[in-house]
Subunit: 327 residues, 2 copies
DNA sequence: ATGAAAGCGCTAACAT
DNA sequence: ATGTTAGCGCTTTCAT
């Protein structure tokens, strides 16, 4: 089913069909009607691939992620809700396992931009190369507010909120499971942790600070190590919910009960944090809103609207059941 | 940055570059090396649009949805995890608001298939037109096990589970908020509800059976109507979690407390069901597993593997806090 | 081993 | 008002 099929059936040239499809001027009303009827009948729809190769605009926005996990899918929900208010369509692309997963953002962007999509949202990109000619918005990128339009949340304040919550409960021996060192968010969360500890004049035991890499698989080992120490912490602040869940699992594996033997606080407030046993106390990032803001920002950028290209949203404490005072 | 740029820089023709990129036979090793170095240097990546227009395979699988909401994003997580075990990449496409949202599955499929993707997973499609030449798997489609390869869960048994849970608690006046009448899953859930009621010899008050359409916005009105009746139900079985959440909100709006004044049970076990206040008792569909199974099925279909093309997964009761015995 | 050229489905400038 | 034609970036014969 292609345009030439429509043309043949309607007894016109492909050029005429193209004009009808794109609402171009200069086709007789009777022809328009006839062609449209054929299109309807045959259920013709222009091929995105071919269409975009030839024309500049596709009316499709891309959101590029490494994979679809709880974090990126929350952003997706927000972007999806916002895109309904525009006349764009949304294309989410997950880089494959090919190429060892590093540099996926550049690869995906190169593969899609210029042709398939009019602009892209990059989720936690680490290579922030300012491509020109393509409109790009980053969510929670490698570096802080750089030249690239960015949406993030107040990671530093959020980390202080988390740490102060543990301190307020009376904890002093507090461990930290860090995120991906290549992400600004991870740096800010660690900085917030240290700042709050310093403000409270509580020392940070460096043996209790580990790198968890933001993923369950990569965080469980470090968490277990940390909890296996003779002088183990009474509380752990994990840099994101997945690491926090991994920490809870590690604790369970060591015969520890959360929160009785160990308090755990996470970060992000992905839905999974509430499903975890016990439900996780965490710092909420307004992820759906961040997705929506990023999409709005991208649309504005494409439209040439003059506006602030850096959006930072507030974080807040969500108290559930994974933290209590130390025994 | 296109192939001709690489060719010019490397001092060869585009044809040669293409051969190198695709690992074709018949290029001198020295040339291969040189071209690859240039590709590396320039960060060249083939344009998906152009590439797919010309060649048959793209190594990209599509998952087509109406929008990114809790249900489809759970499927996405499962499909994403499974795709890592293959060498495909995953492209999720949300039909835009254009064209009044009906027939989106046909439109999206026509737009992407043939060119951009090697196969597609359709999420809750209602128009199950067996396109030929494109490999398609449906999740929870309009019709039951048809000719189209399908993944779903045992909706009928799940609905009986839900209804029997309410009956077991002692409820007799039980309302039902139905799903989208055009989806087989909705029909089966209603059928399961009626079957369980009949088995228990409890009558169904037709005034307490409404259509909620599976969405929060569309379910809240019917829920309010149902709860505003003089003889209001002591429990409601909502055909999915979003409708159940809408029912809880409607109850709250009427000054009713869940579960004290009204028990509510949902269906799906999307993460949001646990976040709801109170946490929702519901029927779990293994959504991530369904996404993974659909992807595996699609990959097998493309590879020409002989296998069962209909996968049905079990449902189970998840007890949380939204149901108690009637007062 | 390499390159020239045709063509994938579409759009747009240019005839007619 | 309609059709002819060139060309988007790429792959694939087919010459050389």
């Amino acid at each position: 089913m292609k345009m030439s099929d429509v043309a043949r059936t309607a007894g016109v040239s492909v050029a005429t069909v193209s004009k009808v499809v794109n609402g171009r001027w200069g086709v007789a009303q009777s022809t328009v009607d006839r062609v449209q009827r054929v299109i309807e009948q045959l259920g013709y729809e222009a091929s995105l691939g071919a269409q975009s190769l030839r024309s500049q605009r596709t009316n499709v926005l891309g959101i590029l992620v490494a994979e679809f996990e709880p974090f990126s899918t929350e952003l997706l929900k927000g972007a999806s809700a916002e895109v309904e208010r525009t006349d764009y369509e949304l294309l989410a692309y997950a880089a494959g396992a090919r190429g060892s997963k590093v540099g996926w953002e550049r690869r995906s962007l190169a593969r899609l931009s210029g042709t398939l999509i009019d602009g892209a949202i990059l989720v936690t990109p680490t290579v922030v190369e300012a491509k020109q000619g393509v409109h790009v918005v980053a969510i929670d990128p490698h570096t802080g507010p750089s030249g690239m339009p960015t949406v993030d949340s107040d990671n530093f304040a959020g980390a202080m909120l988390a740490t102060n919550h543990l301190l307020g409960l009376g904890h002093r021996r507090i461990g930290f499971i860090g995120g991906r060192p290549d992400l600004e968010s991870a740096r800010l969360r660690e900085a917030g942790f240290r700042k709050a500890m310093a403000q409270a004049r509580v020392g940070v035991d460096e043996a209790l600070v580990r790198v968890g890499g933001y993923r369950t698989e990569s965080a469980e080992g470090p968490a277990r190590e940390l909890l296996s120490r003779a002088e183990r912490p009474t509380a752990v602040f994990a840099a994101n919910d997945l690491s926090a869940i991994a920490t809870v699992m590690a604790a369970r594996g060591l015969g520890l009960t959360v929160p009785d033997d160990l308090s755990v606080i996470g970060f992000d407030n992905v839905p999974e944090s509430a499903l975890s046993r016990p439900p996780l106390t965490t710092i909420k990032q307004p992820l759906q809103q961040m997705g929506a803001e990023a999409l709005r920002l991208l649309v504005d950028l494409i439209a040439g609207v003059e506006r602030d290209t850096h959006v930072r949203l507030p974080t807040e404490l969500v108290v559930r059941d994974s933290c209590t005072p130390p025994r």
